[in-house]
Amino acid sequence: MTEPRPEPTPEPARAVAIDLADGEWHRVHPLSPLLRGGLVLLAVLGVIIANLRERAVDVFIVIFAPDLRGYSPQGGDPMSDIVERGYLGIGVLAVGGVLLVLLGIFWLMWRMHTFRITNEAVEVRKGVLFRTHRSARLDRIQGINVSRPLFPRVLGTAKLDVSVAGQSGNVELAYLKSRLADQLRAQILRLASGARAASTGPAAEPEPHAEVPQADAGADADAEPRAATEAPVDGAGLRHRASLLVSQRADEFLAPELDADLAPPESVVHLSIGRVIGSTVLGVPMVLLVAAVALISWGVATDRLWVLFSFVPALIGIVGYGWSRVTKSLRYSIAGTPDGVRIGHGLLATSNQTIPPGRVHAIRVSQSAIWRIFGWWMVRINVAGQSVSSSGDAAQRTLVLPVGSAVDVARVIDLLAPESAADLDPVLTAAFTGRGGDGGLTPAPARARWAHPLSVRRVGAGLIGGTVLIRSGWFVRDLTLVPLARMQSVCMTSGPVRRRLRLASMRLHTVAGPVVANIPAIDADDARDLFERIASEAVERAATDTSHHWGTR
């Protein structure tokens, strides 16, 4: 009570900075219902405008060609019917009534959507008719994604997606103010890391928002002293705040995806536009595209027009897929932060995903035959919480590096598997492009060519630094890494053919995802030996691994 009151700006700011994660129920941004599904409103407006077209044409004709004033439309559109019959007033009332009802519904949806962050869980309550209450335990969080589609981004809001290790979906905090979303992500990660003190660390860096109304006058995260600009006198202050708002929106729109409030992590890779477009064009979609175009032109040329019905939609689909791949890979950045690997991408609609430490279950590095000329590789991972039918969003979450050189891939593997990075580094080049026993891996014996004629020379498997490396594939080169601390079980199988050849195949089971860790063929004795070593080391590593509680180290 008697302590001198510090300058007003940081004190209430620190209060707001902790506020969202204080275990109380909070509401989301008021515009959320509109952003989440307010297309209904736009559809209503669209219908009205379409019906007004004759009226609009009339008005414009009168303006630009006054001597055509007597021109009357042929009628038949509802608007002119309504006007002619004098029902205009009722029409306006009806439309106004519908809009009011919609606004009422939106307001109700906004009121019913609340969320709460406690020390143990993230909880979301929403729904008007069918209320749902979803909660996610903090120590089961597998990743956090801050995404900004185009329209919400213009309005300065963002969506926070918390993915958990289950298959029934994520906890979504849809639409929060952009700054608050980033801050909240940092706080959730801090709490999930096991560190009890949420107020230490960069998350509580003074955000100079005093209260919500002034939040719009908020600022760059380089906190220059805000006291001067925070005390607006009303008249000039309003204009000043408006200009600050515009410049803040412009900043957010143009800002790169890695937000700057943590000590800015340097992105480990840089994907140039040429590489992104080139890699998409030179992939499977391009081959399909060429085939589809060829088929369509042949069909049209030989007058078989049914081709248009079957292949034009396919063409549209392929082009759409290629387009989305390219736009999702623009401005790609991957960086390591104390709270995990942060992956940002996107140009107009951005997304920023954080994978906390200890959540990567398997890594696959692959290269198709066409990319071999350019030396490009792609990295995919398994994280818990991917449903079997991967929709576009979920599939994006498992793609860490859409295209990169071997050096980029080595850096990304260092980020994804930091505990074994030191042991893996010297072996990686041999593991990517080597054959057989290169890099200290156990090769497949020559007699395996009866089972795998093309890839037998490339198959190799080994246990290095607590990670299992499996190299396989001839047409599409593959290297799979499974950290043993995350492996669920190991399986060895052999059918009658392989038993004859004294071979076995092995598989390491991890959580469901695009990466399958499979050793296609290996000598039976080597297999038995590797099986025992993997089983015992997996137990050891699982017992000593604490990377999922990284804050308590």
Binding site: G358, S489, A535, A542
Partner: protein, 160 residues
């Protein structure tokens, strides 16, 4: 003293009565499918249905003949830190699962198994492909094994 489930690190088998469960299951499905095929043949006079029916009968008889050996090949072993399970004669499969990876233990009893006093224990991890199912355990053994696995898993709990 002769607790069948103590950790003596030896290969344990499942009860031979499980052969009966499998045989009855195969017989029932053979009767249904071959019956449908023969009905099609006799009523609608489709020649191919006869061959399909005969093929189904032959395959079922052969697999029933191999059933005893197959059931005898199902073994499991409780080691110090993991559970090892193997099965199969032609298509051999061996799986090692650390105790700490256990998410659930399920005990299921089908109608025939219940009549014979057997149960099936399923060890569920976070990977659906693990698929460790121990069929044909006596009821009491299944319950005891489940309790023991739960205790072992708790003592070795690891993160996901």
């Amino acid at each position: 003293m002769s607790d069948p489930n103590e950790l003596d690190d030896a290969w344990r088998r499942v009860s031979p009565k499980y052969i009966m469960v499998e045989v009855i299951g195969s017989l029932i499905s053979m009767v249904i499918f071959a019956g449908a095929a023969f009905v099609v043949y006799f009523v609608f006079s489709q020649m191919w249905a006869l061959w399909v029916g005969i093929a189904i009968v032959v395959i079922s008889v052969v697999s029933i003949a191999f059933e005893p050996r197959r059931v005898r090949s199902i073994r499991y072993r409780l080691r110090a830190d993991d559970l090892v399970y193997r099965r199969g004669i032609m298509f051999f499969r061996e799986v090692a699962v650390p105790y700490g990876r256990m998410q659930l233990v399920d005990i299921n009893r089908g109608p025939v198994a219940r009549a014979l006093g057997l149960a099936e224990l399923k060890f569920v991890t976070a990977a659906a492909a693990t698929g460790v199912t121990l069929p044909g355990l006596a009821d009491a053994d299944a319950e005891a094994l489940r309790d023991e696995l739960v205790v072992l898993a708790e003592s070795r709990r690891a993160g996901l």
